[in-house]
């Protein structure tokens, strides 16, 4: 968004800074905004690439259109869908996750328009609450499709008719929650749970096999607006800051595990029927598998979206994970590590401070040339609209390519690997740590923030590996401020703050 100030104010305001700022180099990433389709609400819920290089996008009001980059033009393929929030190509068919079902869409008569909309799975409940979004699918190495089901929000009640079995667990009964008047709902909504799961598998990841067999896979999600697989075939799912989410997490999801949002517990087969909101927090805490990565609210991400594996064409970024966000005008990068068998790692800002990126970055796909396509949406929250593309960056870009937590005597080490040799004699990055509350309240302040002294550092002879010795605290997010690190070739670092989540510390 451009703020129009009178020219005189703008110049006068900027002058003192111009003197202080280093000259802004050409942005490292080349971003192009593409035209929106005519007379279509250009909020993009799903994005994928066709074998011929065209870009398929699913829109808020239910259309799927193809964008041809060579002619900058759109053609329609399908319509009629219900808030599609994920689109993949599966052989010759499209799979789209819409509010009520996972659907296989195809053009059987070859006229270029979809004519077959087959239900792959609708084996989950809906109360009609607006927040019960359906996300995905991501196709796993096992050939199954993985989807995420948002819990309902007590911003509203439920509708007269629901789909699926009603759970009696909770202070409010179905009648009280059905289509309440504003006044009535304001009085009782506190008893609903801030986000609630009263029909099956809200707050779950489902696994759906191509024949439609649907298995509840993992519980404990709030708003899992992003599913993807890493290079090793592990399922990654993001979630949004809110109740039971001190700040937005990235999870490495395994079958049968629980990921912290308690509303979903009522649909576990082994659940004893208690209201999860009345279970002591320590007990809930013990049930959950912690996040692999955390994205500090307001700094890195507020409402993260899709995680996606970065291809080889992106040089130093290859094999890492990019993550979108609705609020921040940047993306996020995740560098994976493994400690004591647990998958954890570091998050960093990605493509930050770029004048053309903007916010609302929701769905992603890399095309055959390695160009990254970005679909934006907002659904009346923070965000934007339309389609961007980002060219693969220059191969000599200077950035951190990995961050590993290790051990050295009685202390720990962070070993940072860089894509370019560091300038001689770098300063140790300043390190801080804090953690977040796990509680029913919305979000969390940073807790127990302290500076962490660096006991020493060592630069490898090739200048590409920097090892920092320090004391790492279990359960804390460690922020490494890399501002000011420069390469031998005198480039500034891309991604200057790194947040490592130390769930496990080497023994």
């Amino acid at each position: 968004m451009v703020i129009h100030l009178p020219y005189s104010i703008r110049m006068k305001t900027l002058l003192p800074f111009l003197a202080l700022l280093p000259l802004q180099a050409e942005p490292l990433f080349e971003i192009t905004k593409h035209p929106n389709p005519v007379a279509i609400d250009p909020q993009i819920g799903g994005l994928t690439i066709l074998p011929d290089g065209r870009v398929a996008a699913a829109f808020h009001r239910g259309e799927i259109l193809f964008y041809d980059p060579s002619s900058s033009s759109w053609t329609e393929f399908a319509r009629g869908l219900h808030e599609p929030l994920g689109l993949i190509l599966d052989g010759d068919d499209f799979l789209v996750m819409q509010r009520p079902e996972l659907t296989r869409i195809s053009d059987t008569d070859g006229d270029g328009l979809a004519d077959s909309y087959l239900t792959v799975s609708a084996d989950f409940g809906m109360t009609g609450n607006y927040h019960e979004f359906s996300f995905g699918p991501a196709k796993g190495p096992d050939g199954s499709y993985y989807v995420g089901l948002n819990v309902a929000s007590n911003g509203a009640g439920i509708r007269e008719e629901i789909r699926g079995q009603w759970s009696e667990i909770g202070d409010l009964n179905q009648e009280q929650m059905t289509n309440p008047s504003k006044e009535q709902w304001t009085k009782i909504k506190g008893s609903a749970g801030r986000m609630y799961s009263r029909v099956p598998y809200r707050g779950w990841i489902l696994k759906i096999s191509p024949d439609g067999t649907t298995t509840p896979f993992a519980s404990g999600f709030r708003s899992p607006d992003g599913l993807g697989f890493d290079a090793g075939g592990k399922l990654l799912v993001t979630d949004n800051q809110g109740d039971w989410r001190g700040t937005s997490p990235l999870y490495t999801v395994e079958e049968g595990k629980h990921y912290g949002h308690p509303a979903a517990l009522v649909w576990r087969q082994d659940w004893d029927g208690r209201d999860p909101l009345k279970v002591p927090v320590e007990e809930l805490d013990a049930l959950r598998t912690p996040a692999s990565g955390l994205m500090p609210q307001g700094e890195l991400a507020n409402s993260p979206s899709q995680p996606l594996l970065i291809p080889d064409s992106w040089g130093p970024y290859a094999g890492q994970i990019l993550i979108g966000d609705m609020n921040q005008k940047q993306l996020v990068r995740y560098l994976a590590d493994e400690v004591n068998g647990f998958h954890q790692g570091a998050t960093l800002p990605f493509i930050a401070n770029h004048p053309k990126l903007g916010n609302g970055n929701h769905r992603f796909a890399f095309d055959q040339d390695g160009t990254l396509w970005v679909g934006k949406t907002h659904l009346s929250w923070a965000g934007a609209e339309g389609l961007l593309s980002i060219k693969a960056p220059p191969a000599d870009i200077f950035t951190v390519t990995s961050c590993k937590l290790g051990k050295e005597g009685d202390h720990q080490t962070f070993t940072l690997t860089f894509s370019q040799a560091l300038a001689d004699d770098p300063e140790s990055p300043a390190i801080k740590r804090w953690r977040y509350h796990y509680h029913a309240k919305y979000g969390s302040d940073k807790v127990d923030t302290t500076n962490v002294p660096v006991r020493g550092h060592h630069l490898s002879p090739d200048g590409k590996t920097l090892t920092l010795t320090l004391d790492v605290a279990k359960g804390y997010l460690h922020e490494l401020d890399l501002t000011g690190l420069r390469s031998k070739t005198d480039q500034e670092i891309e991604g200057s703050r790194l947040y490592y989540q130390a769930v496990e510390v080497p023994e």
């Binding site: 104010i9 202080l20 609708a122 789909r163």
Partner: protein
């Protein structure tokens, strides 16, 4: 961009506390861009009210502004809740306040008529139309269909949870979708037309089966003119259902076909009369 990643500005902020004049305005602009601009546009309501509206409300009321930002309330019925901005800090919020007043000087709010952006929508402009929505008086997994034929004003609601026709309404313009589409799904569409028929159960039963099962929706296909055929399983039968406007235009022709050995037994009533019944297809005429 946080202050920390912007050392020159940070340094400047430290040297001249409290901020005054142009430094105050530039900090305000910087902070506004970082924390507020995603939801607040200069001259029209986006997610939240415009900068102009905010400046108007809080011109003389800095304490009220700070209070709202640190602990936002719920005021506008159609808006989402604003997240608390306490992490920005009062000093920065004061700068945002100063910037808001300055940047909106002499500017006027752009009028955006309610619903205008959503009134006409091409993908639901030409019959036949098959579009999923949150519909009144049906399950949350329902499909709205506008049929061509007759006076081009017949529409029906098909429920994919119960796999059956729920009602028929008359509206040459189909319905108004923007109630549902305008934001995040917290409203149903408005039919803007008279419901001329409602149905409590299907006008047939499945015979030759002991099996009882809940209906299970299998999806739909569109013929070359765009008319849908719904498919589902019910009590052991796989059934294809298609509804069209009859040739004389004053009734609906309902075709039910089995793709299994079971036979469909018509259950006619005042409005539904059997037109033909064959081994694998039942045709029923619906009048209202």
């Amino acid at each position: 961009m946080s202050l920390k990643s912007y050392p020159p500005l940070f340094a400047l902020a430290l040297f001249c506390q409290p901020l005054t004049g142009e430094d105050l305005l530039s900090t305000g602009q910087e902070q506004f861009q970082t924390h507020c601009s995603a939801c607040h546009q200069p001259d029209q309501m986006l997610v939240g009210p415009s900068m102009i509206e905010i400046a108007g409300l809080y011109r003389e009321d800095l304490p009220g502004f700070l209070k709202w930002c640190n602990e936002p309330g719920k005021k506008r019925p159609n808006a989402v809740e604003m997240p608390a901005m306490s992490h920005v800090g009062d000093e920065n919020l004061k700068a945002v306040h100063a910037y808001l007043l300055k940047a909106t000087e002499g500017k006027k709010e752009k009028a955006v008529p309610k619903g205008k952006k959503y009134d006409f929508y091409p993908s639901i402009a030409t019959r036949p139309i098959v579009q999923r929505f949150f519909m009144p008086d049906s399950s949350p997994a329902s499909i709205a269909v506008a049929l061509p034929g007759g006076n081009d004003d017949l529409n029906f609601c098909y429920d994919t949870a119960q796999c059956r026709l729920r009602y028929v309404w008359k509206n040459p313009d189909f319905l108004v979708g923007w109630y549902y589409w305008q934001s995040n799904g917290n409203a149903k569409v408005n039919l803007k037309g008279e419901v001329i028929y409602r149905e409590e159960e299907p006008p047939f039963t499945v015979s030759g089966t002991e099996q009882e099962s809940e209906p299970k929706f299998l999806g739909y296909t569109l013929d070359s003119s765009g008319i849908p055929t719904f498919r589902y399983q019910w009590n052991g039968a796989t059934i294809a259902e298609r509804i069209v406007v009859s040739p004389d235009g004053d009734s609906l022709e309902r075709h039910f076909k089995t793709e299994s050995a079971n036979k469909l037994e018509p259950a006619p009533n005042d409005q539904n009369t059997v037109q033909s019944t064959q081994a694998d297809e039942l045709v029923i005429d619906l009048k209202w």
